[in-house]
Structures are given as C-alpha cells and as structure tokens.
C-alpha cells in the first residue's frame, strides 16, 4: 500500500473530501487555496483561488458540479468544479468553520464562528442549481444561533429538516433548522471539543472525533452512543470505512504541547479500529505532524489523510486488505 503524496499545499490541511465517484479529492488548507486531485495518480486537476484567509472547510455536491467552501475571510463561496470559477460569495461578520451539502444538493448548511460580539450561527442556504449557478439568494433560507456551547461541526441527517451538530463543549445535538429548536442533545457525548463529523451513507449513524482522545458512533435519530474508540492522543478526524467494518482515526499532539507530554516516535498515524469490536486493528505511518483530516473513498478503494505537515497522502488499499478477514467470516451490516 504505497501512498501517493499530493504536494501542492504550502501550509497545513484543514479538510479533504472525495466526490461521490471517488475519482476526485478536494483539499483545503491554511494556505488559502483549495486543490482538486485525481485520486488514481495524484495529479492535480486544478486550483480554486479567491479566498483571502485559511480555508477551513469544503464540500462537493453529488454530481461534482458545484463545490462549496468556507474560510477565515468570513466568506462562503460556491464554485464551478470543472472551470474553477467562483460563482457566488456570501459574506458574514465572522469566519466560516464548517459547510455541508444536503443529500439532494439543493441546500447547504454552514457554521460561522462566535467572535467579536457575534454569536455562533448556523445558516441553511437554498442553492439555485439552474443555469450557471451564479444567481443565488443573498439571504439564508433559515438561520439560528445554537444556545449554549458553540457548534464546531454539522451535517444534514436522514430526517427532513434536522441537522446533527457537534459542539465545543463535547455536546452533540439535533436541531430543527427551520425553527432553531434543539430537538435533542447528548451533553456528555464527548469531554472536549468535537473536531470532526462524518455520516454513514444512509445518514442513520455518524462518527465524531474529539480532543478528548476518543471517537464515537452515534445513532443520528436517538443520539444513542453505539460505539466508543478510545485512543491515547487528541483526535482531529474520524472516518467510516466503506464496505469494511473499520473506522479510521487521526490526530496527534500539537508540536507546542509535545514537550509537556510523553513523546512517542511515529505517533502521527492513521489508526484503524474495528467498528463493532472497538479494537485497534492497525496503524499507518507517514505524516510528520498531527493528522488533521481523513476521508475514505466512497467505494472503499482508498483513503486519504491531510496533515499539519502540509501533505495529503492517498493510500490505495491492496488485495490483502480486501481479502483479509481478521475476525473470521462474521457478516457485519453496513
């Protein structure tokens, strides 16, 4: 499983995302640009220039037609994937920390930062997909300020009108985005900031990672914690493997904190855990700094990790990965 190194970012990666077909990988970074790469050979297909600050977050629609990004320049931008053109820019009083498309590609949810007297806000925009995509409404279709701890991650769920959110306090919640009502929450889902959130294909469950060194699988309807994966390092990202019963976890101690804790060589590893048995099954080394973001190919053919070191590594699984059944032939439902 020799990785392909994607070199092109000058600073640390913040989020990476495969498109639905898995042939493209989008990456965004503190260097203010978004790149798109061919996953089979690591060749760079293009760059999206325009943001004037750290690009915190990116998502692509199911047709790979539109891409959406959020950045520290207080803008949310809609892009034409194929031409690299910025189609529309929304401006806010604070940075955009997280974006996500809805299943039908017709809506986008975004979180803006709590700062300078502004509360954390969650907005849902209707995306006008007709024509070139340059005619968008300036105002959100829905907007609310989540009460209590600020939201750090969010995504649409399988239930209409409901989004799942992770918070700075470690809380996870379900919000009705039309009314702003917190439908349900689990205050003790994590003991520290929720750093990542990735949905299962049918959105009926999701995985979250946290600085509390654990990742958890939640039922997105009941908010029951189904599984817990406890590691020895703060986690920045957690992903669900496709067609295999694994979860992939990444993180690592920040360089500034290394001296205050026990150091261990090669701890910037992607950890594979069995998602049902909650046992670690393997690690993949490579990055020279904390792993900030992990994504899995939608068909499970490869995975990619983006690091604080500025590199993206794409790992194509080899035959042995697909053949191995380390726990026998137990059938595990997706």
């Amino acid at each position: 499983m020799r990785p392909i190194l994607l070199q092109g970012h000058e600073r640390s990666l913040t989020q990476i995302k495969y498109n639905r077909d898995g042939d493209l990988l989008f990456s965004c970074s503190k260097d203010q640009v978004i790149n798109v790469w061919y996953t089979h050979n690591g060749e760079r297909l293009g760059t999206y220039d325009g943001h004037n600050g750290t690009v915190w977050t990116v998502d692509v629609d199911s047709e790979s037609r539109f891409m959406i990004s959020g950045a520290a320049d207080n803008t949310l931008r809609l892009w034409n994937v194929a031409t690299g053109k910025c189609l529309y820019t929304w401006e806010f009083p604070t940075a955009v920390k997280r974006v996500a498309f809805s299943e039908d590609d017709k809506q986008v949810v975004c979180i803006t930062e709590q700062r300078m007297g502004y509360q954390c806000a969650i907005r849902v925009f209707n995306i006008n997909r007709s024509g070139e995509g340059t005619k968008q409404s300036k105002e959100p279709a829905h907007m609310f300020n989540p009460i209590g701890s600020k939201a750090t991650v969010c995504a649409f769920t399988s239930q209409p009108g409901i989004i799942f959110t992770g918070h700075e306090s470690g809380k996870v919640s379900l919000f009705n985005f039309k009314t702003g009502e917190e439908v349900d929450n689990n205050e003790r889902a994590h003991g520290d900031v929720v750093t990542d959130l990735q949905m299962s294909p049918d959105k009926s469950y999701c995985i979250t990672s946290s600085k509390d060194k654990s990742a958890r699988i939640h039922d997105t309807k009941t908010l029951d914690v189904i599984k817990t994966f406890t590691t020895e390092t703060p986690l920045n990202s957690a992903a669900l493997a496709a067609n295999k019963p694994y979860v992939l976890l990444g993180g690592g101690q920040e360089a500034m904190n290394v001296t205050t804790t026990s150091t261990r060589q090669g701890k910037f590893e992607t950890r594979f855990w069995h998602k049902v048995f909650e046992e670690e099954v393997g690690r993949v080394k490579g990055h020279f700094g904390p792993i900030n973001t992990i994504a899995v190919h939608p068909k499970g053919l490869s995975y990619a990790s983006g690091g604080e070191d500025g590199f993206v590594r794409v790992h194509h699984f080899d035959d042995s990965y697909f053949k191995t059944q380390p726990y026998g032939d137990l059938q595990i439902e997706d």
């Binding site: 039908d104 239930q159 209409p160 039922d219 137990l330 595990i332």
Partner: protein, 56 residues
C-alpha cells in the same frame, strides 16, 4: 491445562464477538426498517419542491 485455558478464553472471546456482531446487525436492521417506513425519499421531496416552484 494451559492449552485448555487458552481455548476457553478463545471460545469466550468468540462468543463475545458474535454477540457484538448480533447486536450491531440487529440495530442496523432496525434503523434501515425505520428509514424505509418513514418513506423519506430525497428524490421525491426534490420533485415536489420543483412542482411547487412551477405553480408559483
């Protein structure tokens, strides 16, 4: 005797894992059934929204 002990541990572990898999599969089956019963179809909702727009 040692071997017998190892075997017992293995049998217990296997039984434990089988139980975890059964629980997981039962939960997945429940979730999928609920999703199907709610009949929430994303493509359907998209269509009805389009129709509404046309009426307007």
């Amino acid at each position: 005797e040692d071997q017998r002990e190892t075997e017992t541990v293995n049998t217990e572990l296997l039984a434990h894992r089988r139980r975890l898999v059964d629980e997981w599969n039962a939960w997945r089956a429940r979730s999928k059934k609920e999703l199907a019963e709610e009949g929430y179809d994303h493509t359907k909702e998209a269509q009805s929204e389009e129709e509404k727009e046309e009426i307007e």
